[in-house]
């Protein structure tokens, strides 16, 4: 039988972190790669499929000679009005370009700038009614109001509306605040940080916020509740880009790559291609957001500390020593070089950076210097790759902690019951076997063996005389004891709150620390 001829299949993708899979004629995966792939395969029919963000594209290929397949950019979902993305209009791109360079309110400082761009998107292009930036404001790091973005933004109400705003500011940490305007006064806060000379760009799509409101004059669980949908910017999922020259380019390949890096980080996908790493290693590497995402992906995907150090050193040049996301990454370098005083003075922008901070809080003290804001840390809400806080009293993590503590007690009770039942069964089994052996022996011999019955009785009922299989919950709750340090660290990571904050909540709830 002759060996089938082999040919070379080359696949190239426009997006450097596109995932590639090649399927054979039976639809089994025969090759995988990212960005580009070259594979020698037996002649036959193949399907080449690529994944970019949450989107896919595919081609069918007859490999009866060497073949090259190339894929252009694949549309994916992004709040940034980038070319070749799913929710983009040309007029939004143009408006964002104008906002980055032309819109200017009175300066709030000097040395950096912040741009906010919010927009509606619909297939019909008829969401022209509202102000996409309504309810948005810029606060300083101490939560003092600096600007009502919603009132100041230039709103374009042609087809799907968009609103752009920009201001010069001094470098440092800020919050973007969004008020939903509901009866509960729901407030979201997004920490941002702008480095010297940079323009930090915040892009939001408008979304539905469904709120529940109680009828007037009624309180408690029995109150009549009505639901209302409020159209406001989806701040929790807003994307961030950093421009080093104060402009926005909807065609920028690196901003696109940065968005894909953000998606990969949130979706735990491994896409650190060699070409991307090459780019990160270059001294001229100049996209700070891409660098931050890539550094996090490197931490997850690769154990190459040297590479990680080079990337973070490059980021230090780009972002400066005060950047909270860089500081969180810096802790992972494993060397003794320090930047700043080694503590977080403002919140990082990326949830992944915050996770590193929480993780560090399980091993080290004195890593935060957040002032009065420290008290608000239990209000951090999970939100994709970004940090967001629900700035309301009712949004703290107490509910999850209560549930955890209850479930822990129940689990311990359940374990104790199981172990008691097994021990009782084992002793019963031993007793039966012992009795059987005793009965087999001649009476003269068996009389020398003691009777086990009294011991078994104690094992079955426990020292208090209560049935061992069902200890009371209260007793177990006490015997559950304080959380072990490993449990506390695990709970802190689960809830994304530092260990010292968790400790104070546990103390408030009367739990030993």
């Amino acid at each position: 039988m002759s060996t089938p001829e082999t040919y070379v299949l080359s696949v190239e993708t426009d997006d450097r972190i596109a995932e590639i899979a090649v399927y054979d004629g039976n639809l089994n995966v025969v090759a995988k790669g990212a960005n580009r792939l070259t594979e020698k395969l037996p002649g036959g029919l193949y399907r080449v499929r690529i994944r970019v963000g949450s989107s896919t594209d595919e081609r069918l290929v007859a490999l009866d000679r060497d073949q090259s397949v190339s894929f252009g950019p694949v549309s994916f979902l992004s709040p940034i009005p980038l070319k070749d993305t799913e929710k983009t209009h040309e007029y939004h791109m143009a408006a964002a370009v104008r906002t980055a360079t032309h819109f200017a309110r009175d300066p709030l400082g000097a040395g950096a700038s912040i741009m906010v761009f919010a927009r509606e998107w619909s297939v019909e292009q008829n969401m022209s009614g509202g102000n996409p930036a309504e309810g948005m404001a810029l606060l300083d790091a101490n939560e003092n109001l600096l600007a009502e973005i919603g009132n100041e933004a230039a709103v374009q109400r042609d087809r799907d509306a968009c609103a752009g705003w920009r201001a010069d500011v001094k470098p440092g940490g800020y919050f973007i605040r969004l008020e939903l305007g509901d009866a509960d006064k729901t407030v979201l806060l997004r920490p941002i940080f702008v480095s010297p000379g940079h323009q930090l760009q915040v892009f939001c799509l408008v979304g539905d916020h469904v709120v529940e409101e109680q009828a007037e004059g009624q309180t408690g669980e029995s109150a009549t509740k009505t639901r209302r949908t409020i159209r406001r910017a989806d701040l929790a999922n807003a994307a961030i880009a950093i421009s080093r020259n104060g402009s926005f380019d909807p065609d920028d390949r690196r901003t696109r790559l940065s968005e894909l890096g953000c998606n990969a980080l949130a979706q735990s996908r491994t896409i650190m291609t060699d070409t991307l790493i090459d780019e990160l290693m270059q001294v001229k590497f100049e996209n700070p957001m891409l660098g931050l995402f890539a550094a996090h992906l490197l931490l997850k995907d690769r154990s190459d500390k040297e590479l990680f150090r080079i990337v973070t050193t490059n980021l230090l040049t780009l972002l400066g020593p005060d950047h909270p996301d860089l500081l969180a990454l810096w802790w992972q370098r494993g060397d003794h070089r320090r930047i700043g005083d080694g503590r977080l003075h403002v919140l990082p922008m990326l949830r992944a950076s915050w996770n590193l901070a929480v993780d560090r809080s399980t091993q080290a003290h004195d890593i935060f210097s957040l002032g009065t804001f420290h008290d608000k840390l239990p209000r951090i809400a999970p939100s994709a790759s970004w940090m967001v806080l629900m700035d309301n009293d009712w949004a703290v993590s107490d509910l999850a902690i209560d549930q955890y503590l209850r479930a822990r007690v129940k689990m311990q009770q359940s374990r104790a019951e199981t172990i008691a039942a097994i021990d009782a069964f084992r002793k019963q089994y031993v007793k039966r076997a012992y009795t059987a052996v005793r009965e087999l022996l001649p009476t003269g011999l068996s009389a020398y063996l003691p009777d086990l019955a009294p011991e078994i009785a104690i094992a079955q009922t426990g020292p208090s005389g209560e049935a061992a299989g069902s200890p009371p919950v209260d007793a177990l709750s006490k015997s559950a004891g304080p959380l072990q340090s490993s449990e506390k660290a695990d709970l802190a990571r689960n809830l994304a709150i530092p260990v010292d904050v968790l400790d104070s909540i546990l103390k408030r709830k009367g739990h030993e620390s």
């Binding site: 004629g25 039976n26 799913e86 669980e221 949130a266 979706q267 629900m390 129940k410 359940s414």
Partner: protein, 364 residues
Amino acid sequence: MVAPLPDYALVVGISRYPGISDLSGPENDANDFFAWVTSKEGGGVGPANAKLILSSGFQPAQYTQDERPAQDQIYDFFNWMDNLAQANNRKRLGSRAGRRLWMFFSGHGFAPSLETSGVLMANATLRQVRCIGAFRWANRLYEGGLFDEILLFQDACRNRIAAAELDALYLMLPEASTTQQRKRFYAFSAKDQKLSKELPFPGGKVRGIFTATLMDGLRGAARDPATGAISARTLRTYLQDNMSKWLPDADKNNPDIATEPDVRDFDVLDIVPAPVPAPAASGPAAPPAAIDEIYDVTVTLPQAGLSVTVQDGTFQPIKTANPAEQKWSIKLPRGLYRVVVPGRQDTIFSVSGPGSGGTINVNA
């Protein structure tokens, strides 16, 4: 010799959400999955080892916070598994609860990120989004080595919401032994930020399109033609290729609606083994049972009377004809094919499942 540990299944379908909005499909989906996973020809889990948790198993509560199923009902199952592992450990069988765990969840969901994706519990409200982080729980049980294999299927939206409260994993497990070979397969009905869709199906039942596709695949449509088994890879491909066919065109073009699942086939494993062929009375062992899932394909030719050949994925001719009419109806199993008509451009097409072949137009 120690007897192998049994398989277990947790199947959850939540339709009643007084604090959010009710769904119609989850109970149908969960019932279907449960029936399959506990059948001998399906998942083969003993009914005593499978837990079905449905909204209809509980009386509607006066207050939303008391609505069930809630986290406690799911935790009871995890505690049961933990107890089995404790018991097995004391019997010197290792800290394992069983061989394989099937987990199926259907209901409202969200996903700030993959790791924090969750299914909302019946007592969730817009303010207090109570949920089960199915992905994290599956990973916790996996890392603790409670099972050799963990399979997770989640039919729930993965839109990002800001203020969901993730349930904390209270079960602390020691790391699995390095000698234990563990495998995972997770499939989610939607990729990041996408909404999962439920629709009325033929017969009138409302079902999630992910679960409907999943059940077709598990019942045989996702079998590997070469081995007869449903492997992690073939199920993944089947789900990717076939889920969108249930969607109306308007939904297919809506960027918010999931047209493909998110499948993580971390390991190579057979999810459903090849059917065991009837034992031969004598002579060599029988070959694997034939895969009978074949699908209708219509080849439309530029004109009648042309000589047509259909080649398989290795260019072998498998069907040849000179159809007297322009349309030529054939049946094919899953795979890639090429239509060759002398003097015309070749046409490559794929048959990925029921209804996927459709009509293949050969260019004039």
